[in-house]
């Protein structure tokens, strides 16, 4: 809890015990000595000074300990700085075919499925640069928001760790694109935004949704990267089908054409193996080198040690005072003399004993 803007206490209710620090104003740690008449003693500035010093030491000791128990700290701050990085919204295909190898088989032995390869490579991509922000969206039949835009790379890696689990049915890329675009949130000026689509196939985008997507892309204006994990033998995004050139016959080619028509910076990477995926990711990383404002959390500083230091100072004075106590009237009798003094051998009595 913050009490004043920069200062706070971990358990602030303990501060209610601070008035205990006023106790030394009325009580003393020193032995009481009776004198017949205090007024008989002359005014003594040294004694009053010592009395004030010991009272202050007592207040410091109690106040310091109460403060230390409350756990004072200087609050952390959020500082906005400029780093190199980008907002990357990842849209990952979780359809069943992603669990096959690049050769289109079920993985066996040392073979790696497309999902496992992208998992391994994207994991390294996340956290390479400290100031990147990531969002993860999965899609198959329906789009699924996995992790919202965040700079917590551990969470993003946990989301990427899940992508090689058995996938679902279909590749419905249109709704996935819509959700991945919505992950960017309100625009911040000067922030580089990248939408990274990782899929091993494409689907026909409904013409009605095409219009909506165009409008969204024009609004968000991300750099669009399509990492197409091509299964060997399947058509490339550049192949024209032998028969009719319709979206149904060649969905990959027509998705590529649709992306090209969006008017945003767009690059497609066709990868037919894990190395090609890795090199594509490296290229994307090199392209996204723009300044990005990021907030850095300065950790709060624990001031408990300082509070204990104050208490120690006060206690030290009190202990020395106790050690230096002496009787003013040296009689083999009960307590005599007024309050004792510090190293000085009990000077004149103070005006008010205790």
């Amino acid at each position: 809890m913050a009490l004043l803007p920069p200062l706070g206490a971990a358990t602030p209710w303990l501060l209610w015990f601070l008035p205990l620090a006023l106790l030394p104003l009325v009580l003393s740690v020193t032995r009481r000595n009776a004198v017949s008449s205090v007024s008989a003693a002359p005014e003594d500035p040294l004694s009053s000074g010592l009395r004030i010093a010991l009272t202050a030491a007592g207040m410091l000791a109690i106040g310091g300990l109460v403060l230390a128990l409350a756990g004072p700290y200087r609050a952390g701050e959020r500082v906005t700085r400029i780093g190199i990085g980008a907002q990357v919204s990842m849209l990952i295909d979780r359809s069943g075919s992603m669990n096959e190898t690049f050769a289109g088989r079920q993985p066996s032995g040392a073979e790696e499925s497309k999902a496992a390869a992208s998992r391994r490579i994207l994991r390294d991509f996340v956290g390479e640069r400290a100031h990147d922000q990531f969002a993860v969206t999965a899609f198959s039949t329906a789009p699924m928001l996995v992790v919202p835009m965040t700079d917590r790379h551990d969470a993003v890696r946990a989301a990427i760790a899940a992508i090689d689990r058995p996938g679902l049915d279909y590749t419905n890329v249109a709704r996935g694109l819509g959700m991945a675009l919505s992950q960017f949130g309100p625009s911040a000026p000067g922030v580089s935004r990248a939408l990274l689509l990782v899929s091993d196939g494409a689907a026909v985008i409904d013409p009605r949704i095409q219009g909506q997507l165009r409008a969204e892309f024009a609004k968000v204006r991300p750099n669009l990267y399509w990492l197409f994990l091509r299964t060997k033998g399947s058509p490339s995004i550049h192949d024209k089908p032998a028969g009719e050139d319709t979206p149904q016959a060649a969905p990959e080619r027509h998705l590529d054409l649709f992306f090209k028509s969006l008017g945003v910076p767009y690059r497609a990477f066709e990868a037919e193996g894990a190395e090609a995926v890795a090199s594509a990711v490296r290229q994307i990383e090199a392209l996204e080198r723009d300044p990005i404002p990021y907030t850095e959390e300065r950790p709060r500083r624990d001031l408990t040690g300082w509070a204990y230091g104050l208490a120690v100072l006060g206690l030290l004075l009190l202990v020395l005072a106790k050690l230096a106590e002496a009787e003013i009237v040296r009689l083999p009798d009960r307590k005599q003399a007024p309050r004792a003094a510090d190293p000085a051998p009990a000077p004149a009595p103070t005006r008010a004993a205790a």
Binding site: V35, R152, D154, D169, K335, Q336
Partner: protein, 343 residues
């Protein structure tokens, strides 16, 4: 207290003039010195390393149609079972000990779909909370709700992730279970620990219906849903049904009637599933209160923690100093100043 006889050790100089022996024997001096020692220790001791217990949980949230039934209230407004389950999970996150981990999966059709592997609940609270808030029934990939199959696979998934399981569901199977009852559990009951969290009211409520654009268009009617599962062998009482014919109408000759279009929490079914798989069962009553049953059902996992010793040392030092000051006050009352006492 101790009779103040000067020890005669005083030589020349200031220090020698002090009754050191007597001062050292003074209880109040000793208390102050101990207090000073404790405060000094508090300044320098490092925190004591120790092991705390946290949990590692895979939360599987049912996002099928019946979870849209609004039979809860949240902030004075009707809330769907899914809304309440999400609120309960988001309330749970800050209540778990730091170092605990939470993974999230969605359930529909007959299997859980893992969104992310376990995430630490303190450092990564923002993405975790955001991901839970974003869970929506529209993420469902199919309309079926085969809860028994989903639970069995969720248990397997929790086993793979080495976590406990929190399965949030209302227990309404769609299509209804066949007459043969719950499918057999192939895993080992109790190998994965966890909790089945039953959501939904105990009374029947209508299930909202949505069109293909995701807009609500009304409620399911009796004829909209399958009221009886007619796969597999017919139930034992089929012979007594009207129009029964062993070959042409083994389930009877009439359309099945039932209340499958209405929904309440199917506690009996969920409890049977919990008993079959060795999980615990709890009912979700509100957004709070998930922590207790979950921690009771989950395996405590050792987490590195540390114990700050400073509060104990500081409290001891403070008690001693206060005692010294207050002892002065009591003594002052006990021994009033009178002239007769001075020699």
């Amino acid at each position: 207290m101790n009779g103040g006889v000067m020890t005669g050790r005083e030589g020349p100089g200031l220090l020698g003039a002090l009754p050191l022996g007597r001062n050292l024997r003074d209880r109040r001096f000793q208390a102050l010195a101990a207090s000073l020692l404790l405060a000094l220790l508090a300044m320098i001791v490092p925190p004591l390393p120790l092991t705390r217990s946290g949990v590692s949980v895979l939360a599987v949230v049912d996002i099928t149609g019946s979870m849209n039934v609004r039979d809860y209230a949240l902030d004075g407004r009707p809330a769907s079972r899914l809304d309440l389950a999400k609120a309960a999970l988001r309330t749970l996150i800050p209540e778990l000990p730091c170092g605990s981990r939470l993974a999230l999966a969605l359930f529909t059709e007959r299997r859980p779909f893992l969104l992310f592997a376990p995430i630490e609940v303190c450092a990564d609270v923002a993405p975790l909370s955001g991901a839970i808030a974003a869970v929506d029934w529209r993420m469902a990939w199919e309309g079926d709700s085969r809860i028994s199959a989903g639970l069995h696979r969720a248990i397997a998934m929790a086993g793979e992730l080495d976590t406990d399981l929190l399965f949030v569901s209302d227990g309404q199977e769609t299509p209804p279970l066949p007459a043969t009852g719950i499918p057999p559990f192939e895993g080992k009951p109790g190998a994965v620990r966890g909790l089945i969290l039953g959501t939904g009211g105990y009374g029947l409520s209508p299930i909202p219906k949505y069109n293909d654009r995701g807009r609500e268009t009304g409620f399911y009617a009796e004829t909209d849903v399958q009221q009886e599962n007619r796969f597999g062998p017919p139930p034992a009482d089929a012979e007594s049904r009207e129009g029964y014919n062993p070959r042409n109408a083994p389930f009877g000759g009439t359309v099945a009637k039932g209340e499958e279009h209405l929904s309440s929490v199917r506690e009996a079914h969920l409890k049977a599933l919990a008993a079959q798989t060795g999980l615990a069962y709890a009912h979700l009553d509100g957004p709070d209160g998930l922590r207790g049953p979950l921690l009771a059902a989950a395996t405590p996992r050792p987490l590195p923690g540390q114990l700050d010793l400073r509060p104990f040392l500081g409290a001891g030092a403070l008690a001693l100093v206060l005692a010294v000051f207050l002892a002065g006050a009591f003594r002052a009352r006990a021994i009033p100043f009178t002239a007769s006492r001075t020699s």
